[in-house]
């Protein structure tokens, strides 16, 4: 079966800023694919090029075997799109909004069904302006589903939502995917990518710097364990650099994070070194590396700089 979304050599420059700088991507049918990266990495520009909303400077896009130039109307009928930061008309009710979006598609889903799917029935006659952030975001996804799309594009679907609203939306996206449909989403939430995505592309400076399933990406790290500790007083980097078996090191708010290939080797060595330096251990924990750690290992920067 051919890929649902293919792009090759995608480029988009705004003046001197290379928003997208030679990006290749392939999403299989029935797959949930995530583009993961910090703000400004070029995720939104990329997804809007794929959605046919922004023309690329160079590169080729094929969606469901069609091109935007020749089959725009057909593609629009078959795709569902939710944009970042776009707001629905505040004066219309939830039901009126869904009826409006339904009217744009030849075939589609009934507004009442959509409301039931996204737990919006209670808000049927509430104006969009009165909805909470989570309800609005669910309505935005409901609008994207109004045409019963084969491919769903979601640009940061849960940014700014409370944990409960986020979980609710993840459930709906997972259910859509379970019906065999394709999803492409962007996010800067690690947990979102790990929970929803079959495959993830890590995007930085307009390029894909790593690609694979979340498990593959983590397994690809040389040091799959993270040691997290704090001491009194704070120890210096030079002390840690001398410890064998320790990879990446970083420090944030008085907390050290060390990547290690083997905990059995690294932890005793660390404790001995701290003891020797006269530093008292305040906290110590370890976890298996996550996509966040993959991103740090790849770029030397943290994913979320909020």
């Amino acid at each position: 079966m051919s890929a649902a979304i293919i792009c090759r050599g995608l480029k988009k420059h705004y003046g001197d800023v290379k928003a997208v700088d030679g990006l290749d991507l392939e999403v299989n049918p029935g797959e949930c694919f995530g583009m993961l990266g910090p703000n400004g990495a070029g995720k939104t520009t990329t997804i809007e090029i794929l959605e046919g909303l922004t023309p690329p400077d160079a590169g080729e896009v094929t969606i469901l075997g069609r091109h935007w130039g020749s089959h725009e109307r057909e593609l629009r009928e078959r795709l569902g799109i939710s944009l970042q930061e776009s707001r629905l008309t505040e004066k219309l009710t939830v039901h009126e909004t869904l009826e409006l979006f339904r009217s744009f598609y030849e075939r589609g889903r009934d507004p009442d069904q959509l409301m039931a799917d996204l737990s919006l029935e209670e808000k049927r006659d509430a104006r969009v302006g009165k909805l909470s952030g989570g309800q609005r975001q669910r309505l935005a996804v409901a609008c994207a589903l109004a045409g019963d799309p084969e491919v769903l594009f979601l640009d940061e679907p849960t940014t700014g939502l409370d944990p409960q609203s986020r979980l609710q939306l993840w459930d709906r996206i997972a259910a859509y995917k379970a019906a065999g449909r394709t999803v492409l989403l962007t996010t800067h939430y690690m947990e979102e990518a790990e929970r929803l995505c079959d495959r993830v592309a890590v995007v930085d400076h307009g390029k894909i710097i790593a690609q694979g399933s979340p498990a593959e990406l983590v397994a690809g790290l040389h040091a799959p364990h993270i040691i997290e500790f704090s001491t009194e007083p704070l120890v210096q980097d030079a002390l840690l650099a001398a410890i064998p078996g320790i990879g990446e090191r970083r420090q944030r708010d008085g907390q050290w994070f060390l990547a290690a290939a083997s905990l059995a080797q690294a932890v005793p060595a660390l404790l001995a070194a701290l003891d020797g330096a006269g530093a008292r251990l305040v906290s110590l924990s370890t976890h298996r590396a996550t996509l966040e750690d993959v991103f740090i290992a790849l770029t030397g920067r943290e994913l979320r700089n909020e």
């Binding site: 629009r76 944009l83 776009s86 069904q113 045409g147």
Partner: protein
Amino acid sequence: MSERRNPLVALTRARVLEFVREPEALFWVFAFPLIMAVILGFAFRDRPPDPVPVGVVAGPSAPSVSEALALSGKVKPAAYATRADGLEALRTGKIALLVEEGGPLVYHYDPTRPDARIARLEVDAAIQAARGRRDPTPASTSEVHEKGSRYIDFLLPGILGLNLMGTGIWGIGFSIVNARLKKTLKLMVATPMRKSDYLLAQMLSRFVFLIVEVVVILAFGVAAFHVPIRGSLGTLALVTVLGALCFAGIGLLVVARAKTLEAASGLMNLVMVPMWLLSGVFFSSERFPKAAQPLIQALPLTALNNALRAVMLEGRSLVQIGAALLVMVVWGVASFALALKIFRWQ
């Protein structure tokens, strides 16, 4: 699978709902023209001209002169103790004429002031009649108050035209720029919605408000001022519909590319202010120099105002106002086509 509404109908309905749920917008469309009409009503209500103020210098015959003048109702007499006081009042324009009867009857007035000359005739006639003058040829008067020739009759169609332009351009302009700013437009063009449907819905939604707007202004003019509607109501309806569509098209074009509310309102004013002045809303556009006439007559608001006046005041038929209608159709169609072509959707 589910039933699908017609997208043009759905978009028009959404636009109407959005509009009626916006209290500010309702004010500008419905309350504003009414308030304007009420204010004008006070300014132009039917009444005889104010009596001209005249002065009477104190003297033995002064009370009888004042009484005769007051009885005539044409002038308003005021008493002055001395001639100097009276002349001072005359010089400063408080009175138009001063009557003095020290010996012979004397009228002090400035003959270059038309109201003073009228006062001279009225005052003399009143005094002579009071003292027993008999006219050799008695004459009676017949007063004519022809509806249709007063200023309010000229003004009301102008206000209607002005309102059709204002609500068309403002009503459409702000809603589109808002939708563009909030990226609602971008979200809509990401669906299979036809772009022309979106713009047409903006124009069609104008009909709903148009009916109320026009009926309110016309009914007020007819009820309060007895402004005549001499032509057929059907023709008048057609003129207002064409006018509304024409300005809806122009409204779309004005904001076709504007990215901010400030830019949009600047452009709207740039388009509308010249027409407020040139297109014969408050005074006839014929007053402008001949050289400027071809340009002024080609303006859509001039065409609309001329057509409205021709139908309401002169009872003209559709064929007779064909040229004005054509001007509006050309403006409307050309603006819509150009707007669709250059429209910024995101």
